[in-house]
Amino acid sequence: MLAYLLLLVPTPPLAGFVLLALDPYRLDRRAVRAAALVAGCAPLVVMAPMALAHLTKFWGDQIAPIFTLHVGNYEVALAVGLDTLSAVTALTVTFVSACVLIYALDYMSGARNADLRRFFALMNLFQAGMLSMVLAADSITFFLGWELMGLCSFFLISYNMTSPRAFAAGQKAFVITRIADAALLAGLLLLFLEAGSVRLAELIPAGAALDTARGPLIAALLLVGAMGKSAQFPFHTWLPTAMAGPTPVSALLHSATMVAAGAVLLARFAPVLAANDSVAAATAVAGVVTALFGAASAVAQTDVKRLLAYSSISQIGYMLVAVGVGVPAVAMAHFVVHALFKSLLFMASGVLAHAGAGGTSIAALRGTARRAPISFAAFAAGAASLAGLPLVTAGWWSKEAILASAFEAGWLGLGVWAVGLTAAALTAVYAFRPVFTALRAPETETPRGRESWLAVGPLVVLAVLALAGGLGVKPLTELLGGHPPHPALWVELAGAAAALLGIAGSAAVTFLPALAGRVARARRLRAGLQMDARYYALLVRPYRRFVRRLSGGRGEWVTRVVAPGRGTEGVERELEGAVRHARQPEGATSDPVGQATVVLGLWVWRALLLPFSPDRMDMAWMQGARGIGRAAERARRLQTGRVRDYALALALGLAALLLIGWGMTWR
């Protein structure tokens, strides 16, 4: 029965969302913040004892069935469950999100467009979605949480509704992740057909045991789903633009938790991947390519948030590498460490950006080391962890474990290791660029800014963990059922050398004007290899051209369909309005899908409804409708209000009953 306590983990944020979204009491800002804080931190309070009890082997695997339905051979069984993976991930998610929410309480109060109620409602909804995904013991709850996260991601990126850029970014994120989610859904459904149950405990072994062509197909679909959510190459384009959202959103959704959910998915379904060597290899290759690509792009960034976004892409690439080479436990260890230092980096960069000249560009960070020393120290700790400063940071331990595992994984792994090492060096380069920039003397001297303890508190906690968490990597890996790799000494030394070399390179890039200029000119790399433009040229433009051809150049074809007159002016007018709405003012077809529906609707109207519109059938219908009104008017008169009339009805009923009684006993 204690397993049902798990339901209490996603419930408080959901309740917080309901309270804040419905807002029955017109809460004031203080109440909104209090509600968000309670709802955001309650999961940690509930989850921490359970996760610790499980991780110390005090409490076994739990499963709490919610709803079970048997349909023929298939079984739909919703449940939440606790195993090592979900304990680790849920603990991480609850902890990081509590930190981010506390930070956001302070950060968002100063924001320009501060609709706190909407912000915290969505943050709480996101927490609920993420936690139900992490704790899910069946694919339906899993997918539900997965999609809920995507929805919240869209809303939170577009949080600033006055900015068209933010809105476009949200749309982009939504559409791109949706493409990948379709693949994930297909994979989960195929898996369901094979297993006959939605329980993960049955799905995963069934998927791993498949030896038909469907096995690799399912594994590949799952991989595509994970890559979309985790913004892996070539789906990465949405993440850098998603930085249009507020900094706490970037810290929670677009780095630490939601984006890394792809890695959680793959770790969860690791047996399915492991059963299909080709897909596992593809995972490792995709991961390492993304890691290198993300790191290289991050080096060229001029905006600290975009830099961190590319860094997230790159770091999650490492997690994919770990899953691909068959050590999902190591991937999850990196997930935990990454969540800690990446949310730290985002939040600290938010404080630094406020303290600096304004804006989130790296150049604007100059001098902030002196203005906000605590935040800067926290940022530096996070950057060190990200760069993998040997021995003293958590990032080094987990990344080193991944690289060493890759090194031990055969000839393909060797290549992956080599590329990963290069990416690690690049990681150190970009990680320390903001740090060194912040250390530089500012152009204009400004006094030390105020650092609210509400914002700095979480930073300090996370900074300590980002450094000291390295001690936990090895036990965590073992807990998750993995074996920490034992590479040769030179492999480890190579990793350490890469990081140190990268830091040196970073200093060179920051302080040597020649190199800095080259970085500033690397526009193509900065735009993420211009994948956006490529997508536009390859997919969007041809589609638009195709639609335009269909619609006859400027869309007159649509309006020609409409036959004016014939006593249906109202409908026609309305439909014409719809056509006008679907057409851009300058005549360019901007919404082909919407236009197509309008055309279809018009066609249906003309072909099927118009011939019938003012005829006898209609009149009969209307007659019937009026008849009901008249009948009601007449029936109303039965209610005279006179006792005698009611008594008459009673007496008639009595007489009828007596007659029936007599008739039934008549012989």
């Binding site: 109303r636 008169r637 005279t640 006179r642 006792v643 005698r644 008459l648 007496a651």
Partner: protein, 100 residues
């Protein structure tokens, strides 16, 4: 026709007479008197049937009917007085605020 049958027929007649009175009269007082007559019918039927079968339950049912009638008369007369105060006269049809 045995004796009890005739008495039951008389009881039915009493009931019908009372029913007619309730339906036909508009004065509340007359309706109440008619109700008494309506209740007297079953009372006679109970007692006659009890006598026929030699069972005391007939008389007991009569007592129940009696109590019912007493309560009904008390409430009916109170309502009558109330209506007369509100509507002026004792016309049952005047009290028709429940009209649809």
């Amino acid at each position: 026709m045995t004796g009890v049958s005739v008495l039951l027929a008389i009881a039915a007649g009493l009931f019908a007479a009372g029913l007619f009175g309730v339906l036909a009269r508009r004065t509340i007082l007359m309706q109440l008197i008619s109700l008494e007559i309506m209740l007297a019918g079953p009372a006679l039927a109970f007692v006659a049937a009890g006598a026929h079968h030699g069972m005391v339950e007939g008389t007991a049912m009569f007592l129940i009917v009696l109590a019912l009638a007493a309560a009904e008369v008390a409430l009916g007369l109170a309502i009558y007085l109330q209506l007369r105060r509100d509507a002026g006269d004792g016309d049952a049809d005047a009290a028709r605020r429940l009209r649809g």
